[in-house]
Amino acid sequence: MSEIFSDILRTNSRNRACLAAALFFCALTIIVQGCVKSGSGEKCLNCHSRIEHSSKSHSGCVSCHGGNAESSDKAAAHAGMRGKGNPSAPSGWENSCGSCHRYQLERVKSNIMQTNAGMIRNIRLTWEGGEAGDYAASGQKTFKPDGTNLKYQPVAELDNLSGELYRKFCSRCHIGTENSDSWSATHASGCAACHYPWNDDATYSGSDKAIRGKAGYSATHIMEPLPSTPVCSRCHNRSGRIGYSYQGLYDGNNALVPTAKGEPGPVMGSGARSLVHIQPDVHAAAGMECIDCHTSRDVMGDGYSYRNMFLQTEIACEDCHGSGDRLPQYREVSRENDDALRESRRYQRPVTFGMKMIQTSKGRSYSNVYVDGSSIRLQGKRSGRIHTVKVITGSPAHTIAGHGRLECYACHSRTVVQCYGCHTAYDRGVPGRDFIKGVDTPGAFSETEDYRMLYPFPLALNQRGRISPVTPGCQTFVTVKESDGSISKDEYVAHFKGKQQLRFAPFYSHNTGTRAVGCRECHSNPAFLGFGQNIIEKNSIKGTLICEKSDKKPLDGYLTMENGRVRAFSAITRENSRPLSGSEIKRTLSVNLCLPCHEKGDDPIYQKRLNYRALDDKLHRNL
């Protein structure tokens, strides 16, 4: 076993290896026993004669759906079916998908898209939702990344405003809860959420006449082993809106124009939002889909339960493109149980022994990125297209002293979606749907907002101590109307890290460009440092878009500089994150003393820490 899991053992604790071993045995046992194949003689097809075959390896009906294949009577045949039409829903997945794909199911059960532990934790932190206990979409026992036990309490029992917000708003994008009534944000629950894509209005449009036109079903009965970008985008289009930004869509000001055949347009998203086209991410433009970067462990989990999305994510730009001083790392496929071999079975060119697979930041193999001679290539998992990856290691523009602290996307984001001023009202006198409990309960949320921005975008320190774009996360102003009509909270700013303050969150917008933000542009515009749109007046920086609660603080920033004194008034969420300090601001702006002459990033003076005394030397004095 230690040989099989040598790569995991190398980096992780014994407990971690034990869990992995247990999962492997489960999977092995089931594979040896074999799945019950019950294709022939089933009477299901008497009614569902033209239903699509799920996949080559998934024949038969009852092995997944349950029910009684011997009966021709509808009621008798359907008795005992798992779920209405979706056996992969959490209520039935143990005996449907889980009976063969135990390894995958156990991972998905502790995966952050299923637990929603990150979302719930962040809402609690920012909505004064208490600190005791860990909550997830449903109560369950799982394992922390260090291998110790973790018991989640069900969010249904989180009896405060933050629990209400999750259950009535955020839980729509939980793979354990189906969503059949939000245009284009529709998805099944369970495995089918990703592997049986729904169309925009959740209506089956395949060739089985018995179901055709009915709502609450996948678009067809064809399994999607490798989900496409639109599948991910059904959920990943709120908050950070990365699904939209990646594809080159922006739900901006929701202007509903230009119209599309006389209807609001040009493209409509969920929640009556209109989307306009912007430049897509360079990877999307090259034909890459979400799963071409994101590994199965990114999206389905690795068996451990993380408290935040960024801890579950194992990939980084540097994995493929290298960092300024470190080349991408690889490992040769040398064992028959290498994950890359299994995961690539459906690709046009499956991974073979001896291939040198590029490693994620957690030291695990990509199944589609490999070394080919002196190049790094990426295979589109769905398209089979081969992309050559540009490695930037050692290039002067990427070895600028001080820029080692920058995330790649601090410079290479074309845009960063920023929603300023999120005003959330909760009215206890109006009933609202609790999507976790499945019933209406007193209290409904509604939202208005102030302003949207794409560019420029502010930078601050993220949880890795790196300088990263940040976006409001969130600038929530809460109003609560009690059932007697009285207002108990009026545009209230919650306590965070010990004081009432708004918050920004480190963020990768997924709207990457090859062109970086220019040196002079970033260093000379204080908006990039967190001052908002601004003017400079002597040694003060004044915001021009002002928060309603103040006469001086910018709405679109978190810093002020008055008479040379830098002050931060909003927090950056996540541990170790913070706005830039006064000395960092000064250092960043000081580069402007050199940039008028040394304009280009690859100028040798930027390869070491700048010496501003040089401005007084003989050479510079004469200038």
Binding site: Y250, G252, N253, N254, A255, L256, V257, P258, T259, K261, G262, E263, P264, G265, P266, V276, H277, R414, H423, E447, T448, E449, D450, R515, G518, E521, S524, N525, Q533, N534, I535, E537, K538, N539, K542, T544, L545, I546, C547, E548, L555, L559, M561, G564, R565, V566, R567, A568, P579, S581, G582, S583, K586, L589, S590, N592, L593, P596, L615, L623
Partner: protein, 418 residues
């Protein structure tokens, strides 16, 4: 406004005869309740209403040539010959844009702000007052200059964005007010009655009060002083509207699909593809000086009924910009690089820097920040060669930039922590 005028006419007819009577006047025999206040408190009824036999109901109405006012305020009635009453600029715009698709567009959408009487600005009939900024802002609001003076910018048209503080029923984004407003100056400080009556935009120019200090780095640059309007740099922000849409509805039902602010009964709804209020774009005004410019308007039109039956939609009727002076003046300015390194501000955006793709959404223009297909009606765009020239990296410029940053940086405290 017509409604208001009617009201004033009727109200005046009833009350004019009842004002406080002076010797020889018998008005108050009937009009017992009229009380005068304001600057005309001591004026007899017929001082404004002319005579008992041929009484003028609304002495300030342009329809009567402001007959009751001009006897004393000689020449002020000429205000009705100029922009605020004639609105010829706006009318011409409509005639070359929306009137092509709807001959009655002006009557349907543009008659709200039309100066018809002295009392539109000067209080009410029996309480004549000097106008304050708030009186001017009753019309000079929204996207138009006036609101910005008090630190207000228009919000997006979708009802999701219609929140926050409002004035006279219109919501606004809170912005940094003009420094003159913050110091308590009213519009009339620069826009005297004489200037308005004579058709001048203002009675006061920046340099009438301010003598530029040439020791300031930017002021020390000759080209700046010769070629730039003061407010090319000192306007801190400007409301910008990219892609103004008028959507025409023939039935109320399809209107419900558009959750936009606006009247439920009107034939039109208005929306904008994008609004922003950062530093305004720059062009050349009729004096050949660098000046802020704004879209006015990049005008689109959709007749919903026609569009639904497969016809034309999102028709571009004009892509016009105007030079103007944002009333958002501050002592400070944006950084040098905000103009010199910013082709976008002159509508010379490189394709590689483009963010929005309006053409992909059927809006004809490749980009709003590209001059092609657009024009400045009262000036011109910055020619490319002139932009290149102003961006030449001369030694003088490098020195000035370095000096400017030194001035800021020498006073920044490094000890302050977030």
């Amino acid at each position: 406004m017509p409604l208001m005028t009617n009201f004033i006419v009727i109200f005046s007819l009833l009350l004019a005869l009842a004002a406080t009577s002076f010797a020889g006047e018998s008005c108050t025999v009937c009009h017992v309740s009229v009380r005068l206040s304001g600057v005309h408190k001591g004026v007899p009824c017929l001082g404004c209403h002319i005579s008992e036999s041929a009484t003028v109901a609304n002495p300030g109405a342009s329809a009567y040539g402001a007959i009751g006012c001009k006897a004393c305020h000689k020449g002020h009635e000429r205000i009705f010959d100029h922009a605020m009453a004639k609105r010829s600029g706006e009318k011409q715009f409509v005639s070359r844009s929306y009137a092509k698709v709807d001959a009655a567009f002006w009557e349907k959408n543009c008659t709200g702000c039309h100066l018809q009487s002295c009392t539109d600005c000067h209080g009410s009939g029996h309480n004549i007052l000097k106008p304050l900024a708030v009186d001017c802002q009753r019309c000079h609001k929204g996207y138009f200059v006036g609101w910005d003076y008090a630190g207000r910018a228009p919000r997006e048209d979708n009802n999701r964005y219609q929140r926050g503080a409002e004035i006279e029923g219109e919501r606004f984004l809170k912005m940094l007010p003009d420094v003159h407003f913050s110091k308590g100056m009213e519009c009339s400080a620069c826009h005297s009655m004489q200037s308005l009556a004579s058709g001048e935009k203002s009675s006061q120019k920046c340099r009438g009060c301010h003598k530029p200090d040439l020791k300031i780095v930017e002021h020390g640059i000759k080209a700046h002083m010769e070629r730039l309007e003061c407010y090319a740099c000192h306007a801190a922000w400007g409301a910008q509207e990219y892609g103004t849409f008028y959507l025409r509805f023939r039935d109320g039902a399809s209107k419900e699909d558009f959750d936009l602010k606006g009247e439920k009964n009107g034939e039109y709804l208005r929306s904008a593809y994008l609004k922003s209020q950062d530093a305004p774009m720059l062009g050349l005004n009729s004096r050949g000086k660098v000046s802020p410019i704004r879209p006015m308007f990049i005008a689109y039109y959709t007749d919903i009924l026609t569009a639904k039956s497969g016809g034309d939609e999102n028709r571009l009727l004009g892509a016009e910009w105007r030079t103007y002076m944002p009333h958002t003046i501050q002592r400070g300015t944006i950084a040098c690089e905000g103009c010199h390194d910013s082709p976008r501000r002159f509508l010379l955006e490189a394709e590689s820097a483009r963010i929005f793709l309006p053409k992909k959404d059927g809006m004809v223009l490749e980009s709003f920040w590209q001059q092609q297909g657009q024009k400045v009606v009262n000036g011109s765009f910055m020619p490319l060669d002139r932009y290149r020239k102003m961006n030449e990296r001369t030694m003088a410029k490098k020195r000035a930039e370095t000096k400017k940053w030194q001035n800021l940086l020498k006073n920044v405290e490094t000890s302050s922590k977030p």
